[in-house]
Symmetry: none
Subunit: 342 residues, 3 copies
């Protein structure tokens, strides 16, 4: 290994930090920053560090493309004028994928207060610049201990399984619906279309994962607000798998429907489809699907009760039960973690 | 009248010019700038000059709100890297409204070529900053001749009539549709939702008209592209009336459906609805409606033939006939104008 | 000093890094990133670190406002897809101002290449959040040596003098001119207006200095391109002094005219004026003025010859001579520095 390659390999391991001031356009009218803004910043840090790493040894130039984001919680709401510090580091590499851990810290530069706002795990796959259908080999990272590597391998296997599963359930559809009765699924169901612009694809000819996640959060937020008519914020996002690359010139359709409500939370399922305006649609599976959980906050930031979702069809009832299971599982997992910490 | 007020009144009459370089995100993948980008710039110039004028004599601070845009033609497509010069001047004032004429010139700064890209007429109404439901009196402008004033008065009366008419036809609805058969109305029908952000409302708590027009053009463009799967550009926009103010915190739903095709053009009807996420919907009429005409261009900028729209229901057939009438009227008017010029 | 304040003071000294991927909208049609984009990122890093520092000991909350940027050179052009790393640290504090040094590094994450793209020095003044006309005291920084402090004091005195001088020459005006003859001052003279939106003012009710500098670079770039009709890039910006705060809801007018050409460079003077659309104009001096130097590059990045500016009036001739003096001084200074390094 010559000197230049060695230096590149070393620097490829350096954590990276992306910071910026949060602006009015990043927030809702109550001043809470949209979860989608945070997800987009997280993904930007992730794509920089993983693309840098994957090019550190390879002769073949490649760009890292987001394949999956693990379930993530929004720990504390952020406000306009605060500085978001997003730091990313690589924590595992398999033959063809890179795991990136990202921390988001919110800093109030007027009083010095700092709070952890989010922690996320992202998986990237490097695609050749020459041939976007070719996955390039990932240079192995250096682990501090065999245990660290073994833990990473387990996370890798677990997410691989989950990816295959979601690909299968991925053929469900949101049909257009109008239902004027409040609290039904049809009442809050929403969708948007977005024509992919050049700035959505800065590094290659495909939409950056962060752009898609921001649109998904936008739709989910509108569904949540339509349901409860109060100030809402993103509480968590379940694992998101990206099953398709979305090309420049595509129209992205993002649809959201409410699936479940607990006393203080709402779960919204979001589907992303992409069709190229100049080509005919061939794919039937969604490009991306995910579950967003929202809560409603009063002026003092206290969680408000949520009106129960009225489910009518068999499918709606089944989805409500599935949502309840996800809700109970997450709750049980959290309690187990809290027990461990004691 | 004291000196300061006099100076302000004079300066309020000055034409203004808004210029900026057209960027990649302003254009489609073929490099043609979106009509919606131009409409947004036109409205920005209009709101500045009319707000400035309405505050030149009044003690009561007010903000001019877009009430109507007259039919406008996109004379020549603009490209990325060109500079758009938008100049606005006030051409008529009634007791409660201001007419603004706007010219858009495209300048290729690399070869010095200039082309008229658009000419538009906008009507603004000044609303009190203290009480947004109160229309403030407009200071009278100075006309260069009685004829000029009389011409303006006629334009004022004509648009007033049209506004009332469109308010009546304004209760039609676009129902969700899925139709997999190409060239049908349901196949290309599209809609989007947009959560109003702070930058959509720079001067007051209501969405600037230009923001709404840009969203309308975005939906119309997607409908057009889905229909013909080729590169499309906005050719003209029929008169647009703004029947409702759209408040900060609203969700705007913009829906478009194709109504008519001629050999070389498509007409798309666009509806805008707004509901406040924290309030219940009360209005039934649309906030805005308009007809956009699109053409499809090949690589050399030549108009391509358009596949004929397949109309199926009675309503679709009626709308197709109405579209044909608008098309023939516009054609006849243009021929008459061309005759006059000879 | 208690523990909490001590920690805040320490962390206030930490350098900060702002990174992001450069997007198509950040660049001109040749793919060169606008100098204005870089200036805006530089200022964002500066405002974060200086606001943080000024609040580290004060009980009175304050926001740092840009007062001045020292002359800065764009060392190498940046491209779309590269990552800009902007790092800032505080290098001097006077009683009422903070000096921040900023470095901009361009990283190509595909091949690992890194280049210094810019180095800048900014001066900030902290204004009270409660009373924006009150300048707050700056907590003193820790110097590593008395020499470091003394060097800083000299830089502080020098910029103070220059600020007073420019305030005096600051009453010149750009009158509208139409001169169709190429290479004259009137031919390339340009101006734009911008309505200040909420996202231009994230931390307070005033436009962030970086927003203004980006607009200034946009106008200067248009003037330069109109003059030479080739691909142009920002080479350097002379010291910029901010003489007035620009409030939310203002209309910013930015005007530029060419003052001087050397064989391979153009100097453009830029003026910024702001008037509030709802209030009367009182100020007569410009809010900001600056000189931008542009060069023209061929496809391989080599500097092209520049057509000589045709000066006609006495004022134009005087300004040309003044520009030549600035050009010769800069050249002499660079040669002296190059000699020192040998």
């Amino acid at each position: 290994m010559d000197g230049a390659v060695k230096t590149r390999l070393q620097s490829s391991g350096c954590p990276i930090q992306v910071s910026r001031i949060l602006r009015p356009d990043d927030a809702n009218i109550a001043g809470n920053v949209h979860g989608g803004t945070i997800l987009k910043m997280i993904e930007e840090a992730g794509v920089i560090i993983s693309t840098r790493h994957c090019n550190s040894q390879n002769e073949e130039r490649c760009v890292a493309v987001l394949a999956r984001v693990e379930r993530t919680d929004f720990l504390s709401p952020m406000s306009i004028g605060e500085v978001a510090h997003v730091s990313a580091e690589i924590t595992y590499t398999s033959k063809h994928s890179v795991e990136v851990q990202v921390n988001v810290m919110a800093e109030n530069i007027l009083n010095g207060a700092k709070q952890m706002a989010n922690r996320a795990t992202l998986w990237y796959v490097p695609l050749s610049v020459e041939n976007v259908n070719k996955v390039v080999k990932v240079p192995p990272m250096q682990y501090s201990s065999p245990e660290q590597q073994e833990e990473g391998r387990k996370r890798y296997e677990a997410q691989k399984l989950d990816r295959i599963e979601t690909k299968q359930r991925n053929e469900d559809q949101i049909f257009p619906a109008i239902n004027v009765e409040p609290y039904t699924v049809g009442y809050s169901q929403s969708s948007l279309i977005h024509l992919v612009g050049p700035s959505d694809c800065a590094l290659h000819n495909f939409v950056q994962g962060g752009v898609t996640m921001k649109l998904m959060d936008e739709v989910a937020g509108i569904v949540a607000a339509r349901h409860c008519k109060t100030n809402i914020v993103t509480a968590s996002v379940d694992a998101i798998n990206f099953h398709q690359k979305i090309e420049k010139g595509s129209v992205i359709t993002v649809s959201g429907r409410m699936t479940f409500t607990s006393n203080k939370s709402m779960e919204i399922e979001v589907f992303v489809d992409a069709d190229h305006v100049l080509k005919s649609l061939t794919e039937t599976a969604h490009a991306v699907t995910a579950f967003f959980t929202y809560v409603s906050l009063d002026k003092d930031g206290k969680a408000l009760p949520i009106p129960t979702l009225k489910v009518e069809t068999e499918d709606e009832k089944r989805r409500f039960e599935e949502g309840r299971n996800r809700y109970l599982q997450t709750k049980a997992k959290r309690m187990a973690e809290a027990m461990k910490c004691q």
